[in-house]
C-alpha cells in the first residue's frame, strides 16, 4: 500500500524528516507517536501533498505509484486522505456542498459519473447517522463555529463519505471527550477492511484501546527510532520519550 523509503524532507526551509522509513500493507493500522515537534504532522502533510513540505531525497510509493509526483487532488482521488490536526474554516460554503464537490471531483478523476444530489444526500445521511452526528452539521459552513471536537468529528465524517484506501489521521483524538473519542474510533473501525490502511498519529494510548493497531512507531527528530506492538504505546505512556532519545 505505502512504502516510505529514506525520506528527508523540509517544511519551508527547515529539514524536519531525516531518513524516515515506513511500510504499510493493505488492511494494517499503524500508530505513530512521538514528542511535539518531532515531525509527525510534517509526515502526514508530505503524504497528502502540502505545497511547502518538500522531499529532498528518498521515495514514497503508494499502490505502486510515485506519490510525490502527484498533485494533492490526484492523491485524494487515488484514495489518500489526511484528517487534519487543525481543520480549517470556510465561511459561506456549506459542508454538504463542499463534500459533494469533493466526492464528485474524485469520481470524475476516476472516470465515474456524478452521483445525483438525491442519492448523495441519502448516502451522506446514512453515514452521519452511523457516526452519531447531527444532520444540521451538513447545512453549516465548513467548520465555522464548530467546537474543537466537532471539527475533529467532521474530519472523520469526511473520511467516511470519501472512503479512502489510506487514511492518515493527525491527532484526531486530541481534545475529544470520551463519547466523541468513541465516535471517532467507531468511524475508523467501521471503515477497517482488508484493503484499507490507517496511519494514526496520536499522543495518547487511550485511542489505541478503541482502535487496535497492528504496529506502533515512535518518531523522534524526524526519524522512526522504535517500532513495536501496542505494548510499546503503554510503555511510552508510563515512561515518556526520554529513554528513546539518547
Amino acid at each position: 500500500m505505502l512504502e516510505i523509503k529514506n525520506i528527508y524532507a523540509k517544511a519551508g526551509d527547515t529539514e524536519i524528516l531525516k531518513n524516515l522509513n515506513l511500510s504499510v500493507k493493505p488492511g494494517e493500522v499503524h500508530a505513530i507517536m512521538g514528542p511535539n515537534g518531532s515531525g509527525k504532522s510534517t509526515m502526514g502533510n508530505l503524504l497528502a501533498g502540502m505545497p511547502h513540505v518538500t522531499a529532498t531525497s528518498g521515495s514514497v510509493t503508494y499502490q505502486g505509484k510515485d506519490l510525490l509526483q502527484m498533485e494533492p487532488e490526484e492523491r485524494a482521488a487515488e484514495g489518500v486522505f489526511l484528517a487534519f490536526q487543525y481543520p480549517v474554516e470556510i465561511p459561506g460554503v456549506n459542508n454538504m456542498y463542499f463534500l459533494r464537490t469533493a466526492y464528485n471531483a474524485q469520481r470524475k478523476y476516476r472516470g465515474e459519473d456524478n452521483l445525483d444530489s438525491a442519492a448523495f444526500l441519502r448516502m451522506v445521511k446514512e453515514k452521519i447517522k452511523q457516526l452519531h452526528m447531527s444532520d444540521d452539521l451538513l447545512k453549516r459552513p465548513v467548520n465555522v463555529g464548530f467546537s474543537g471536537g466537532e471539527k475533529k468529528r467532521n474530519e472523520v465524517f469526511q473520511m467516511a463519505v470519501l472512503e479512502p484506501n489510506l487514511a492518515i489521521m493527525d491527532e484526531t483524538d486530541s481534545g475529544l471527550d470520551i463519547d466523541a473519542l468513541r465516535v471517532v474510533a467507531d468511524g475508523v473501525n467501521q471503515l477497517r477492511s482488508p484493503d484499507r490502511s490507517f496511519v494514526i498519529i496520536t499522543h495518547y494510548q487511550r485511542l489505541l484501546d478503541y482502535i487496535e493497531p497492528d504496529f506502533v512507531h515512535v518518531l523522534v527528530d524526524g526519524e522512526i527510532v522504535k517500532s513495536g506492538t501496542k505494548k510499546l504505546a503503554l510503555e511510552l505512556e508510563e515512561q515518556g520519550y526520554g529513554w528513546l532519545e539518547s
Binding site: E73, V93, A102, L162
Partner: protein, 391 residues
C-alpha cells in the same frame, strides 16, 4: 489640453427629440457646464482617479455585446423601469404604492445640486458632468402603502454603446415606506446619478448588479440622504468591464438612522474598478457600516475607499469600515483605504483593511479532498465574497 466641456459634449449621446427642460433645471445644467468647462479633465493626479485610467473614458469603439440577463426579481410586487436610448419605459399600469414621472417633472425642492465647489468638483468631475449632460431619467415615488415585497427594478439597457449616455434618477422613499430597488446593468456606456431620498422611518434595500463585459464602461454616483430613523442596506456587485467608477455618497440629515453596505469587487484581465464610499456623519447617533471584499486577477486594478467624516457635535456616531482584498496574480493591483475624519469626541469606530493572497492552508485542505486547483480557488473566492453579502 482641450477644455473639459468640449471633449465631453462631443462624446455624449444627444437624443433626436429635444427635451423641454423647466427653466430652473436648464439653469442648473448650464451652471454645471460653465463650472466644469474651467476644469482640467480627470487624470491620475486626482485622488479618486489615481488607480483608474481616466483616458479610457474617451476611448472609442467599445463593446456592443449585451450581457446575459439573469432573473431580474422574483418578487410578486415588482415594477421594471427600462432606461433605454430613447428614454424611460415602463408598464403604465402602475400599482397604487408607486408613482413615476420623467426627471424634467421633478419639483425644484427635490433637486439635489452636485457640489461644484472647487476641490470637490475636481475630484468628482466625471460624475458632476452628469448634472450638465443628463438627457433623461425617472422620478420614483414609493409610498407607505408599498407591500412587503415591493420591488422596483432600474434596468440600464442603452443600445448606444460608444457614446456616453447620462441618466439621472430621483428615488423618493416616503415616510414609513419600505422598498427594494434593484439596479441592473444590461448594456450601454452609462454615467448615472441616482438621488435616493429616504424619509423618516423609511427603509430601503438596494441591490446593484454590475457585471460588465471586457469592453464595457460604467460610471455612477449613488447619493443617499437619510432622515430620522431611516434604514438603508445596499448591496453592490461590481464585476469586470473595461472601467467601472462608482461613488456612494451618504448624508445623514437627522438622528438614529443606519446605512449598511456590502460590496463585492471582482476584476480580471485589464479591468479597472473604483468603489468609493463617502459618509457624512453630520448628526448624532447614526450608524454606518461598510464592508468591501475585492479580488483582482491578471493585470486588473481595484481602488477601494471608505471615508467617514464625523462633524463636530455628531456624538454617538458608530462607524465600521471593513475592507479586505485578495490579489490573485502578481500583476494585479489593489489600493484599499479606510479613512476616518473625526471632529467630535464620542465616536465608536472600527476600521481595517488587508491585502493578501488566497489562504494556502484552505487551498490545500480543499485539494486534499480531491477538488482541483481551479475549482478550489473558485470555492475560496465565493467564501471570501460571502462576508460582503449583506442583503
Amino acid at each position: 489640453m482641450a477644455g473639459l466641456k468640449v471633449d465631453w459634449l462631443a462624446a455624449a449621446y444627444q437624443p433626436a427629440t429635444e427635451v423641454r427642460w423647466p427653466d430652473w433645471m436648464q439653469a442648473k445644467k448650464q451652471a454645471a457646464l460653465a463650472t466644469l468647462s474651467t476644469l482640467p479633465g480627470p487624470s491620475r493626479k486626482l485622488e479618486l482617479w489615481r488607480y483608474s485610467d481616466a483616458d479610457r473614458l474617451q476611448k472609442s469603439e467599445l463593446d456592443s455585446a449585451a450581457n446575459t440577463e439573469r432573473e431580474l426579481t422574483t418578487a410578486d410586487n415588482a415594477v421594471v423601469i427600462n432606461l433605454t436610448t430613447q428614454g424611460v419605459d415602463f408598464d403604465r399600469n402602475l400599482p397604487d404604492w408607486l408613482s413615476l414621472k420623467p426627471i424634467q417633472e421633478l419639483p425644484e425642492n427635490q433637486w439635489l445640486d452636485m457640489d461644484l465647489s472647487p476641490a470637490l468638483a475636481k475630484e468628482l468631475v466625471v460624475q458632476s458632468l452628469n448634472q450638465g449632460l443628463f438627457t433623461h431619467g425617472v422620478v420614483v415615488d414609493v409610498s407607505a402603502q408599498a407591500p412587503q415585497d415591493a420591488t422596483v427594478v432600474l434596468r440600464y439597457d442603452v443600445a448606444e454603446f460608444n457614446r456616453w449616455t447620462y441618466l439621472r434618477n430621483v428615488i423618493n422613499i416616503e415616510k414609513n415606506a419600505a422598498v427594494t430597488i434593484d439596479e441592473h446593468y444590461v448594456t450601454g456606456r452609462i454615467n448615472v446619478v441616482n438621488n435616493y431620498r429616504v424619509a423618516q422611518n423609511a427603509r430601503l434595500t438596494r441591490h446593484q448588479h454590475n457585471v460588465l463585459h471586457a469592453g464595457q464602461q460604467h460610471v455612477s454616483l449613488q447619493h443617499f440622504t437619510l432622515a430620522e430613523n431611516a434604514y438603508v442596506e445596499s448591496q453592490n456587485r461590481h464585476e469586470s468591464g473595461n472601467l467601472q467608477h462608482h461613488i456612494h455618497w451618504v448624508d445623514f440629515t437627522a438622528e438614529q438612522a443606519e446605512y449598511r453596505s456590502g460590496s463585492v469587487n471582482k476584476a480580471g484581465h485589464n479591468s479597472h474598478i473604483a468603489d468609493i464610499v463617502l459618509i457624512n456623519h453630520a448628526f448624532k447617533n447614526n450608524i454606518s457600516d461598510v464592508t468591501h471584499r475585492s479580488l483582482a486577477d491578471d493585470s486588473a486594478q481595484i481602488f477601494n475607499n471608505a471615508k467617514a467624516v464625523v462633524a463636530k457635535g455628531a456624538d454617538g456616531s458608530e462607524i465600521t469600515q471593513d475592507l479586505k482584498n485578495i490579489l490573485l496574480s502578481g500583476d494585479a493591483k489593489i489600493a484599499s483605504k479606510p479613512e476616518l475624519e473625526v471632529y467630535t469626541d464620542e465616536v465608536v469606530a472600527a476600521h481595517g483593511s488587508t491585502i493578501g493572497a488566497l489562504d494556502e492552508n484552505v487551498l490545500f485542505f480543499l485539494r486534499s479532498r480531491g477538488i482541483g486547483l481551479e475549482q478550489a480557488k473558485a470555492i475560496m473566492m465565493v467564501s471570501f465574497e460571502q462576508e460582503a453579502i449583506i442583503c
